[in-house]
Amino acid sequence: MATKKDQLEVQPREEVETQNSERTRAQRLFVPRADIYETDKVIMVVAEIPGADEKSVDVVVEKNVLTINAYIEPLQPAGYELAYAEYEQGDYQRSFRLSDQIDREGIKAVVNDGELRLTLPKAEAAKTRKIKVVAA
């Protein structure tokens, strides 16, 4: 894992490949960078979605696929012209496949400082059921 003394570097941005379908929004669509880690109780997903707040993020679980969509309102200071750009503003989309051990009902999503934090609780292991045997 990276230590505190490391220098942060700008990482290249990956675009979502759209097959067969075309975007209906003018902005480009990026894959947000994410960290995924697991503890005994939860799996955490932390994704970078700078510019999005809790109102502009959708998290949808369909069957066993969880999809994040973040719609960014691009920054455009009124009366100013863009003179120089090192990054491009755009929307974010990414899907994750959920394993059976995730409790779908308990998923939580929090947005703060441009990070989306998904808490995916692990379901308690299916308890073994004992069948009582009775005499006929």
């Binding site: 490391d6 990482q11 994410a34 503890t39 005994d40 932390v46 700078p50 090192e86």
Partner: protein, 146 residues
Amino acid sequence: MLRRYPRTNLWREMGQLQREMNRLFDSSQQGRLFTSPSYPAINLWTNEDGQVISAEMPGVRMQDIDISLTADALSLSGTRHPDEVARDAHFHRQERSYGTFSRTIQLPFMVDPDKVEANFKNGVLTIWLPRAEADKPKTIAIKPGK
């Protein structure tokens, strides 16, 4: 980086500024290659009254960002801390990096330090840098000859 020339040499400074601006425009149009010399990547907007600098730094906390301003340069520095992960956690994927950053941006004009404003929202830092009144170009009225 822009170099500042003595104030008296206005033409030279203007020529330099023009070349810089042309270079910036060219590089931002070439196949949309967005690169940045160091963290954070910035975007820069200008008009005759000043400029606006924005930087994306998701996951950096407001209290971990330092902004300092000299007469003609702006410095951004800070740290992005990793999650305080429980010891038993193990990573499935680690695409993000953590650590310190420091970057100095040369400004093409003098800034009025009392009017600089910065805000940090949803991981995007925006800094408004109004041009100092004394630094603004003056219109010279032409009087008819007698």
